[in-house]
Point group: C2
Chain length 192, copies 2
């Protein structure tokens, strides 16, 4: 039956945020439209009232996943950001984690549009990191972006590697510990 415009928007939001969770957990190809709609609380037939294709949902959901990070981000110090990202909690919670870590190697194979969403998400990260570095007077202004890129890359790599061996090896924890220590040290180094 028909539903109010407000309700429809709310339902769409529900589908997108559910997809944002499930894509991170299972990969873009690892979850189907039917299962996804079911998880969101709908039958699958109505999907195409909201999106013209699964592809379009992939875009919206990726954007939504990156936007979540923005919302969560308080005025963290760089240490707080690193401790939160390079952690067992983040490693073990695919569904709410950073899309760049959960879907990074998938993204390389996606469309131009989805890569653009990733670009925006990465730039968002860099902005937050640079801001945190600046607030602590860390590095010269001209260096902060490069330093931020280095910190982000190590953080993403640490979580990707730790997840790829999680549950089978102590290596997983070792990677997180080594990279957290190394990143904190790197972030604290003031000179260029």
């Amino acid at each position: 039956m028909r539903v109010s415009k407000e309700q429809m928007q709310e339902n769409r939001r529900q589908i997108v945020t559910t997809a944002a969770r499930l894509f991170r957990e299972h990969g873009y190809n690892g979850i189907g439209v039917a299962d996804l709609m079911k998880e969101a609380g709908f039958s699958h037939g109505g999907f195409y009232n909201h999106f013209s294709s699964k592809e379009e949902l992939v875009m919206a959901a990726s954007q939504s996943a990156f936007d979540e990070l923005d919302v969560e981000a308080d005025d963290s110090t760089i240490d707080a950001i690193l401790r939160r990202y390079i952690s067992a909690g983040h490693r073990d919670d695919l569904r709410q984690g950073c899309p760049a870590a959960a879907l990074g190697s998938d993204a390389a194979r996606q469309t131009r549009e989805i890569k653009q969403v990733f670009e925006g998400g990465i730039e968002g990260w860099l902005l937050r990191i640079e801001k945190a570095l600046a607030a602590q007077g860390q590095f010269q202004s001209a260096d902060r972006r490069q330093r931020g890129i280095n910190l982000l890359a190590k953080a993403v790599g640490a979580v990707v590697l730790a997840r790829s061996v999680s549950g089978v090896s102590a290596l997983s924890d070792e990677i997180l510990e080594a990279c957290l220590a190394g990143s904190l040290e790197e972030a604290a180094r003031t000179e260029a």
Copy 2:
């Protein structure tokens, strides 16, 4: 028709190395058994004479992909390793690149067996990196593993991030340049 034992082993090798390329390019779920066998030069029906399931091929192919890296590895200096890994060439050549970067976020969703293959592959990388650091007298012996983990994580993260925006943004090159510079600097730092 039947084929000699030697020929069969050679055919199996052909299937595995083809799969190693195609999985890196398209992801584990992005390429099917039929297309894969065709690319390797066979009809798909014979697949199950070699493997009990696609899953088993995924394991063999992942192992093969990591083994390739071992073979390619000459007695490189740490600089040579980093310059080769964190490069546009590596970013643009999914098919021959490091499985940890090409399939890292996929691996998190795979079976225990496949994660064990990744563990071996990562340990292989760490061994090569530590050896290169040791050859140059870089870092104290006790620190080399932690330093190696940091270098590897940053390298993997750089390639994953660069690929996720490649072809849509100058950010891709920027990430590689910033991380290469940062890694070289990090590797050159001798004190603890």
